[in-house]
Symmetry: D2
Subunit: 377 residues, 4 copies
Amino acid sequence: MHKAIGIGLIGTGFMGKCHALAFRAAPAVFEGLPPVRLARLADVDPAVTERAAARWGFAAWTTDWQALVTDPAVDLVAITTPNFLHQPMALAALAAGKHVYCEKPLALDAAGAKQMAEAAAAAGRRTLVGYNYLRNPLLRLAKELIEAGELGEVRHFRGTHFEDYMSDPAAPHSWRTVKATAGAGALGDLGSHCISLARYLCGEVAAVQGAVQTLVPARPVPGADGQLKPVDVDDQAQALLRFASGAAGTLEASWNAAGRKMGLTVEVTGHKGALLLDYERMNELRLFTFGDRKRLDGFKTILAGPEHPDFAPFCPAPGHGLGFNDLKVIEVKALLEGLAGGQPPSPDFAEAARIAQVVEAILRSAAEGRWVEVATV
Amino acid sequence: MHKAIGIGLIGTGFMGKCHALAFRAAPAVFEGLPPVRLARLADVDPAVTERAAARWGFAAWTTDWQALVTDPAVDLVAITTPNFLHQPMALAALAAGKHVYCEKPLALDAAGAKQMAEAAAAAGRRTLVGYNYLRNPLLRLAKELIEAGELGEVRHFRGTHFEDYMSDPAAPHSWRTVKATAGAGALGDLGSHCISLARYLCGEVAAVQGAVQTLVPARPVPGADGQLKPVDVDDQAQALLRFASGAAGTLEASWNAAGRKMGLTVEVTGHKGALLLDYERMNELRLFTFGDRKRLDGFKTILAGPEHPDFAPFCPAPGHGLGFNDLKVIEVKALLEGLAGGQPPSPDFAEAARIAQVVEAILRSAAEGRWVEVATV
Amino acid sequence: MHKAIGIGLIGTGFMGKCHALAFRAAPAVFEGLPPVRLARLADVDPAVTERAAARWGFAAWTTDWQALVTDPAVDLVAITTPNFLHQPMALAALAAGKHVYCEKPLALDAAGAKQMAEAAAAAGRRTLVGYNYLRNPLLRLAKELIEAGELGEVRHFRGTHFEDYMSDPAAPHSWRTVKATAGAGALGDLGSHCISLARYLCGEVAAVQGAVQTLVPARPVPGADGQLKPVDVDDQAQALLRFASGAAGTLEASWNAAGRKMGLTVEVTGHKGALLLDYERMNELRLFTFGDRKRLDGFKTILAGPEHPDFAPFCPAPGHGLGFNDLKVIEVKALLEGLAGGQPPSPDFAEAARIAQVVEAILRSAAEGRWVEVATV
Amino acid sequence: MHKAIGIGLIGTGFMGKCHALAFRAAPAVFEGLPPVRLARLADVDPAVTERAAARWGFAAWTTDWQALVTDPAVDLVAITTPNFLHQPMALAALAAGKHVYCEKPLALDAAGAKQMAEAAAAAGRRTLVGYNYLRNPLLRLAKELIEAGELGEVRHFRGTHFEDYMSDPAAPHSWRTVKATAGAGALGDLGSHCISLARYLCGEVAAVQGAVQTLVPARPVPGADGQLKPVDVDDQAQALLRFASGAAGTLEASWNAAGRKMGLTVEVTGHKGALLLDYERMNELRLFTFGDRKRLDGFKTILAGPEHPDFAPFCPAPGHGLGFNDLKVIEVKALLEGLAGGQPPSPDFAEAARIAQVVEAILRSAAEGRWVEVATV
């Protein structure tokens, strides 16, 4: 029997709650996981934090994240704060000897991410970055199919992450719309997810040619009576990709993509077949392979089910789909297994630093109007 | 602050786990729910039950369900056993003064369901039956749209529940394939879900004309070396419906519907519009209404999001879909609110008895080749 | 070289034009067809008819259909008039020794259809009824798959023909809304198409249990200042089907199906697979078969292409879809082949009389509230 | 009454037949068109040409295209030959005083296209280039919506033309796989269609950054016993686009896109909405606009119907879709109207030369690894 792992969670917002629910669910959904102790919760507003701690079952709470990261009851620090806080919090947690589970993007730039990866290596602690869309059982199936050669030689990748939460010019200015606190705009917030999937399915991105646009150059400051403040990050981004394998591709991100609510899509094509995954229908994998009877060829729609990785513990019945939050439960399962001595969780800080390099290469390419090798960033 | 509600759960299978996960999640997902205490778990296999109790966080376990239903630590008995056990367990729990949360179908026949409803009324206890597909936020939106008159006068309902888990003639004989232990076949197991949605959206079913077929007349007995045993329940069923409102409709159920994994669908049509919901894409509601500009008319695909009932506590972002298990979390939320003095949970035993009447009317109609009024069953 | 076949076309409306275009196209699309001579066109309005004759290339025109059916230049009479005119025109044409190509439904009732079939047999002339949706290359593929046993034993059929052109209560009274001139309402106009497909795929319908509703009991008389006139035909119809093969099924028709523009759908399920065809996406066949690798099972979407019957003469490229009018071109091709000594065109009057029997059995069943054997109608 | 326009058609292959069918159909489908006389057909094989002429109704035929372009009976020369023949044939036809209707791509490069445009201007003849996908009624609707501001300011275009007819490495070497006879590969054959739609919807492309790949470097020579010959054109291409309007975009083309049969897609996004068109479902336009009731927002699927440009003459019923060949009929209608003194047909040679410039800019950019301004090509 494993000793319970003490969880310290920083952040009570969208992703904070998502983490909390996942830590509660994972040990009950999956067999053989180490038990989890919800040790401490931190956020800035005491009333909110206290109520959340009670509701989510945390034993203690604080408004001082530094107290949390040094708390002896905490073995793992989970970071769900705004981007610019990831680096100081993670470094402090590693310095205190904790494992770290950090939301994406890892840092504000590639240098920051690299520093975090080096700190993790030096500390000998386990890390995981919350690229949760990697946990989709059908994405796992997709990778297995690619690795088994079912698509033949992969020649083409096409990915997007389109949402529309900033489509309205009246959507407010925030830490997300400032380079100094967000690192990048839609490319960092959404595009980095798509890069995580591109790498997972097709291997390293070798070079990029990018373009970025700021469509809404200034946005209203909340509570400031219509006062506008300049935006210095991208609203949408496009890139041509060249993979180390030689495959070509494109990648796009936008938070101004009117009508798209979860427009994370990937398409991989080889000379023998192709597959598509669209996270607005995340329980469906579309698969095409040339068959013996050409008249029966067509894209097949495979519904997620217990035959696919990590699905069965949720439900023994196929087509009874998983939800967005379930992906986090699978992520936490991989994390806990890693902490209990299993396979190191992935993507760790080092891998997330590779993703940050791709983001930065696209931004640099866009600024300089030329192809940029990712390795040089 | 509410006193914690002691949960006694009977059954550790598919739905048992689904209940356990939901009881763990609901008080963390939703604000203001009474706390829950996972008091006791019961099932027949001691090793399985002990492990499940540990994993799911139950304080105690037993192989004696009668001990569970009389356990003073238990306030609510949740029943997830095979159909034929629902009635004795629920009656015993009510007799012991417990609230009862029972999986569907409620009983083996309409008479049994009626008896259970009467016992619940006599005991003055709260009951809820697990017609979990009623909890879909988009179904709730559908009902609001209908009630607001957006479809005009409702004239037509069309529903199915198609799955294919018995499609293979080698799928084994079990309690599900025997009338004495299951009550009905696909019509009871799946069709009853569809009836629950039909009633929710369109009101009471007044009369039915049904047909049922047993496609695989005998199935192999597990572990009996290929020995076949007769099946006396339906593999598929069809019915014409007449609603009390005057609307017409059809309903079909099959567990031999090759290719369908979660083929619960409803379509409601009025003179001003129509809507469709397909649970293989349960995060999408398709809505048509005649507009001012005919050339722009078309079915709209609405993605579930925080604007829809009960969605926001899971995720503030639209299109980040819910999963099958999340429906049970919403169901448990409604249950706990009801137990804490809020609106009585629905469908309770009395409502579930109405559903049982529709099932039985279809079976009787099929046997007699004529229309059967539901009220007379 | 064949002698050119002289075509006499009655009707210049929707289907009249569709016929004219098809007669112009078929001999150019398909190789080896006998040449066609557009001999004469008839309709009631001389100006309209003259202009249409010029535009469509008819050598002559008339407002006297009786002159057309006895015109020696006419070998084949094509009838596209309102339903109540089919019978007298076809009988006159047969009496004059012509082949007859008649739009559906063949007659106002089963007796009328039978009489027409007998007249055709007595005259020894070729007949074809315009159930054009039978011509879809993917429907032909579907039938081949069923006959080859790819779905296993067929157990279930589910069909609809839903459109919404009468959904608006202000849609005017016309010959279509009167039993004496239309025979039936949505069931005859649309449902008969679906019956033609059901028979094609699954064989004869043995018995039915039907229900019909008149949703709009009176409609405005055109040009009569809002005056309403009663409607005595169905706006929507439902039926349970029992096929001679033992398969069960359902069939529905409605012209009040808000949002459906070409909602002709068929689903056929066997124990090894299933297929679906929806004429709003008539270039897509959805096919499911259980495979060796359960995790890769799913419905496949097959796009129409030159590998499918009758497609290649239109286009050598797959996915470059056919349109509604192209189905009529294929129908005319089958007709011309039949007239040139090839396989008799199907469905002829005798087969269309079988379809009329099914329609009538549903109406009788609806009136009497019991199952009706089709053979007895 | 117009004098009949004499048509001289060169080519009897895929597009030759498509033209022939369209010339037969257009004057019958549409009212008010000038009559057409199918004067002469030319191709290299006498037997094939003679049979095609007979089947399609041409008065004469020849194997000498030069005889055709100078034939006094010919007013319009339609060119459907391999790419490298477009320029000499069109120039000869213009020199002979004929109007010219030429398949795409217009020439082998931008310089050739420009020369053709200048020759047409000098000759004062009407020209049209066969970018047939521009004729889709729903594309016309899309443009009207964009122009009416329904999407707000357009910020993003995303287009593809993916097919898979060269996916198989054994697909043979031909004039299509040689730069000297084709000009470009997938980018010219397919990508040029997508460019035609991009320009139509979003205006001129100002600059591009492209990448191209030859995936199958050598292909078998037909009839040469497995002998391989090098391929010097692209199998797939990607480009970032910058429109004159300031909008950004991407464009991709591939004839190795396994599973795609008619993968021409366009997506246009503004700050108020978005629309999508996929030619595998060419009768469906997907439209999103932000509405007053956020909970009802979603993409609407609009089915083509008589309310949309040029649809009604084919069929008065919505959802009764058009086919691929029907687009050519609409194209021919626009051509004939232009020849009869109406609006000049578009895209003429001058516009097609703009498309050729975009193709060439992408190729140059790919070679030089930098952004290329289209105007400078």
